[in-house]
Amino acid sequence: MAWNLKEDLRDCLVAAAPYGGPIALLKNNFRKEKSLGSRPLLEIYSASGVPLASVLWKSGQVVQLGWTASEDLLCIQEDGTVLIYNLFCEFKRHFSMGNEVLQNHVREAKVFHTEYGTGVAILTGAHRFSLTTNIDDLKLRRMPEVPGLQKLPSCWAVLSQDRVTIILLAVGQDLYLLDNTSCSVVTPPGISAHAGAYVQMAVSFNYRYLALFTDTGSIWMGTSSLKEKLGEFSCDFRAPPRQMVWCTRPRSKQRAVVVAWDRRLLVAGNSKECIQFVLDEDSYLVPELDGVRIFSCTTHEFLHEIPEASEEIFKIASMAPGALLLEAQREYEKQSQKADEYLREIKDQNLLAEAVRQCIEAAGYEHEPETQKSLLRAASFGKCFLDKFPSESFVWTCRDLRVLNAIRDYQIGIPLTFAQYKQLTIEVLLDRLVLRRLYPLAIKICEYLRLSEFQGVSRILAHWACYKVQQKDKSDEEVAHAINQKLGDTPGISYSEIAARAYDCGRTELAIKLLEYEPRSGEQVPLLLKMKKSQLALNKAIESGDTDLVYTVVLHLKNELNRGTFFMTLQKQPVALSLYRQFCKHQELETLKDLYNQDDDHQELGNFHVHSSYSSEKRIEGRVGALQNAVDEYYKAKNEFAAKATEDQIKLLRMQRRLQDELDKPYVDYSLHDTVYSLILDGNHKRAEQLYRDFRIPDKRFWWLKISALAEREDWEEMEKFSKSKKSPIGYLPFVEICMKHHNRHEAKKYAARVTPEQRVKAHILVRELDQAADAAIEHKNENEMNLVLSKCTAATDSLVVEKINRAKAQTLKK
């Protein structure tokens, strides 16, 4: 042991965590006089005795120490308060075991582990039990009274059966079982009538077995359900033992109990014989899954049943295949031909695979690297002579042993056995290394075992970073930089979690710096908002591109800031501004106007007014008013065109209103085109002309418009008059088309005669005078036109035309 203890262990309150866990000592606890100089001292050591931390105890009287499954130290005080410390004596939190306990004081306490978590059981001065099965989800249970109990029980234990936690207690020669509701007297089966009073009891690691020690020196062993007796042993010592624990191995048939007195250790099992050891100094027993750890001031040992594989191999003169293989390999190294003999012997029995398996298994149980190596070498040697031996078990054992050897090093001090390691799982082991702040080792192990980054390295780095932010002696810059250097862009790192930790420690600036490294904006933004860094949150939200996130912040800002500042903020963020505009478009039209106003965006303001002249104004005057506003804004925006157009619109609207009143027909919201059309259709040519002039409708369009309307009105007379009013700016083909559209071939023909020569063919085709069309085409000597005419000909009716064209085409070809 690396520690340098001056005190005897017996003078200290001791608690050692299972699975090679840490050891806590509370010194000076039993001294009654509480002078300043002799305050109790709480010390925590690794299992190898390396001091981890110590703290001067300033709270109340401690009755019991115990470790939780996650290696936190529980200090149970006399007043029922339980204080929780971490491995480094840093206070985490506390809770109370209830008023009853507070009044009657804690006389004895036990910490126990079940599938629910870590529990605490208390025996109070009123001889009542209280317990909780999970300190992380505190539910206090007061157990029923034991009838007639006038003094403290001589011994008691917590049992867990079928997920129910119960208490077994002994008073003299009586055993009581306390469950949630009742108290019953029980008798262990097969116990001799003269066994005497119970003075000590032990429950196995898995709660399956129970051992009872009586004042006659008799040890009863059986199942904890008290239904079966496994054996009884009678020893010569009657003094109550200091400790009694089970020493078994999972899946083994052998069961033994280790009993310790001050200077004596006795191992008793299902046999008449027992093994005795002499203890040189004060020792403390720690029950483990597969054995018992025994430590004293100077040593730390592991007592366990020899596993079958090891026994087979190392038994003196063993002829087991594993033993032979080990021997064969040794001979082989000595370059002796005996290697072959041994090998042959195994192979003849067809046991080589078994031999390799044994060696691999046995290697796992060994603590001494040299022994591990020689066993593994033997396995590897044997494997060479096998065809299909799956290599996984060998590879994995090598890897696991490498990890185990590393953590068993006294500087790390986690003496896990192979079985414990498998039970614990690598994930939990890594957690424990992290708890001890052994980050580099944990990372090395992850890399060595090739765990995925997400499960392994990233997680450990994140823990490291969370620890790092608590180092108050370093500046924010240093810490942030150091963290980023280590973590970089490692996938799966949550910088926001680290930042949240920093913020919890009151280091807002550091948190912000760390958040800079967080790639997931979805994570950054809420924390920034929580830290009231909304501007920054806005930046981050925009960077992410997630518009919903931007909305989140914008609406948050809207509530947080006054309107002016809010607008100013948005102004600096065009993306947010556009999104907010969209929001306003649907939700708050007036705000939209204010936004444009603030930006002096006159174009958009103009558009806004145009919009409202349609959507919010109903009466003509209101609409004209809105449009007038639009005109003003368009002018301010130097959009001459839009301003003029809108002025025209106002003019038109007013005029339509007048027309509507005068002619009693709806005109409002017709386009200019439709208004004029409608006027012509009704024969109001004067007014139509008026509009034509007022709005400077281009001639071409007016002519199109007028002839279309006249044709629809079938006012052929007026159309002819119009066609002669001056030279048509659109030519006369449109006249032909429009007449034909209204099925007036007669009128159409009139205009067909007036079209320009280039359009003549088309015009004749339109009025279905293919013969004349052909003539025109031939006259033009235009082959395309001739083809066009041809395509319109039908063989039945137009054979003459076809003939004519073909002749003409032939002639042109000749030339």
Binding site: S452, E453, F454, P491, G492, P519, R520, G522, E543, S544, G545, D546, T547, D548, Y551, T552, L555, P574, V575, S578, L579, R581, Q582, H586, Q587, N607, V610, H611, Y614, S615, E617, K618, R623, F641, A642, A645, T646, D648, Q649, L652, P666, V668, D669, S671, L672, H673, D674, F695, P698, K700, R701, W704, L705, S708, I730, M740, K741, L766, S791, K792
Partner: protein
């Protein structure tokens, strides 16, 4: 490759199943009508039925139809106006009967705080037991085509500076990469492309668990802003599929056609029972014939159809030669396939006839306004694209306005001219605008403003017109186009080679460095990013193995552009296969429509 994309379909389908189970038993689904189309592509109605979806309704204002169900799921896009309808539904529900039903809301593709706030304001947020999202980012439309079907993506990105759809696109690309491996190379052109690439790189860092260990299917991702190539959607598409879309509009692979041509030809009945319901057809590559002709220039479709007709009738003739029982049996076994082929041929012959009536160079009769001048319109478009008279007021356009042709047609022409001239001179622009406002109404001033903001319509600022340089360098206009057996992508517009696809083509060979100058003339930055792959996943290309490029059109893609990319995929010496993704399948008409401001005059 098409096989692997259909995995996405299944993947999404399964997720939906799971979702359905989430909300206990026998729910009724209230659909946002817009979603029924896209959802139809991934989860058939029958599939939903199997998963105990009791009833389906369309989301409508007012009261929900009565249905004896415990759970009601609203399946909606995150839009405020839909929230109002839902609120109305929920509120009127409570008034009629005691609150017996449970409400749930499933946002597609993303939950939105804004919408939840709206529901809260309306006082109904608490009524929803579950509020979830269904991340339907990219919907498989065909073996090589994915679309987000976000109808207003272009408007939001380029007009309103709302990049929600880009975020969704980046998310979709991440999902795609999770399924098909990290794409090692990313190229892009345009501001939105840059933004999406940035978000992708960012999101990659956010992914926990590190490297994606899937062998990458795509070699390259090309992100293209729609505003890099505003021209292609404005021009009339001349592929078979493109024309169907231009004329009838394809929605979620379905098209509705006038029924006359599809009347069952039975003798004796005459024209008595002409169907009145439009004929609805699904169009995708699962149909053998359609796969063959969809991307051909329409002028090349006729010959294929007649060839097919001969083959099929020859196949049917076979029965006369079938003598032995065995031969007859074999013939019969092929019948279903032949009959399917025959009905497919009949359908497409009818469609081709319909289109022919409209596009025919020599229309026999001036029947309808819209159809009479398809050819004239096309001629003008082609003049603009080849750079003829783009700087003055166009007579044809003027005449069309004077005859009040559909506004969208006019806007397409004017915008096309503007784009082909790098903007119009003030006088020309103002003239067009005035003509439009006077003819179609002053309310369109806002639409015109939108088009200007989007860059579709603009004032020529510099005296230089860049378009001819771009046209020449990128060979956007090809005079000797071969429509029947094309040797260049320009066949899809009978002369014009879509700029967007040219960019993709030049990227593959010889690389963008060769057109650096032109790239600078096009809006937005161009860039290249590399995503590191673990060494095990790096491709060792075999001789003759094609590279696979995913082209993502931000702001929409037309069928003609898709056809051009497919043409490049099929080129023997092309060396690159293309898969296409987009925010929305568009054509000039629905694209311009999405940019129009709808101002309804108040009721007087």
């Amino acid at each position: 490759l098409s096989l692997s994309l259909s995995v996405t379909r299944i993947h999404i389908g399964l997720t939906l199943k799971f979702r359905g189970r989430d909300v206990r038993k026998s729910p009724a689904i209230v659909w946002d009508e817009y979603l029924t189309g896209p959802f139809g592509l991934i989860a058939q109605y029958s599939l939903l039925k199997e998963h105990e979806v009791e009833k389906m309704f369309t989301l409508k204002a007012g009261r929900l139809p009565p249905a004896d169900v415990k759970n009601i799921i609203f399946l909606v896009r995150p839009r405020l106006e839909l929230m109002d309808i839902i609120a109305e539904n929920v509120l009127s529900e409570d008034r009629v009967r005691s609150p017996l039903r449970d409400f749930h809301i499933l946002f597609v593709p993303r939950r939105s705080l804004l919408c939840e706030q709206r529901l809260k304001d309306q006082g109904v947020l608490g009524s929803f037991i579950h509020r979830e999202q269904y991340s339907l980012d990219l919907i498989p439309f065909d073996g090589d085509l994915l679309s987000m079907e976000s109808e207003s993506a272009f408007k939001e990105c380029y007009l309103e500076n709302d990049q929600t759809s880009l975020y969704q696109a980046a998310k979709g690309l991440m999902t795609l990469q999770a399924l098909y491996g990290t794409i090692p190379q990313i190229f892009g052109k345009g501001d939105c492309a840059r933004h999406v690439a940035n978000m992708m790189i960012r999101m990659k860092r956010e992914f926990p668990g590190g490297q994606n260990s899937i062998f990458p299917i795509f070699d390259t991702l090309l992100l293209l802003d729609r505003n890099v190539d505003l021209l292609s959607p404005l021009a009339t598409q001349l592929t078979y599929e493109g024309l169907i879309d231009e004329i009838y509009g394809i929605q979620n692979t379905y098209v509705k056609l006038p029924p006359e041509k599809f009347a069952p030809k039975k003798q004796g009945e005459g024209g008595k029972d002409l169907p009145t319901e439009p004929k609805k057809l699904q169009l995708n590559s699962a149909e053998e014939l359609y796969a063959e002709i969809r991307d051909k220039n329409f002028n090349a479709v006729g010959s294929v159809l007649s060839k097919k007709a001969k083959i099929i009738s020859a196949a049917f003739e076979e029965r006369h030669h079938a003598k032995t029982v065995g031969e007859i049996k074999q013939f019969v076994s092929q019948l279903p396939h032949m009959q399917a082929a025959r009905s497919s041929l009949a359908n497409h012959t009818s469609i081709a006839e319909l289109i022919k009536d409209i596009t025919s160079k020599y229309p026999f009769q001036y029947s309808t306004y819209a159809s009479e001048d398809f050819f004239d319109n096309l001629t003008v478009e082609q003049e603009f694209m080849s750079g003829i008279d783009t700087d003055k007021v166009n007579n044809y356009t003027e005449d069309c306005i004077a005859q009040k042709h559909p506004l969208i047609k006019i806007l397409r022409l004017v915008c096309l001219q503007s784009v082909c001239n790098s903007g119009l001179k003030q006088k020309v622009l103002d003239h067009y605008k005035r003509e439009i406002l006077q003819t179609y109404g002053y309310e369109h001033i806002l639409t015109l403003n939108n088009l200007e903001k989007a860059g579709l319509l603009k004032l020529q600022t510099s005296s230089r017109n860049n378009y001819p340089t771009i046209r020449k360098t990128m060979r956007l206009w090809m005079d000797d186009v071969n429509e029947q057996n094309p040797n260049d992508i320009s066949y899809v517009y009978s002369g014009y080679a879509p700029l967007s696809v040219r960019l993709a083509q030049l990227l593959a060979r010889p690389g963008w460095r060769s057109i650096e100058e032109v790239l600078k003339m096009l809006p937005g930055p161009h860039f290249e990013e590399r995503q590191q792959l673990p060494t095990g996943l790096q491709k060792k290309r075999q001789q003759g193995e094609n590279r696979v490029t995913l082209v993502f059109f931000l702001g929409g893609v037309t069928y003609a552009e898709i056809a051009a990319l497919r043409f490049l995929s099929q080129m023997e010496d092309g060396g690159t296969e293309y898969v296409i993704a987009t925010t929305k399948l568009i054509n000039g008409t629905n694209w311009i429509k999405s940019l129009m401001e709808k101002l309804e005059p108040p009721p007087f």
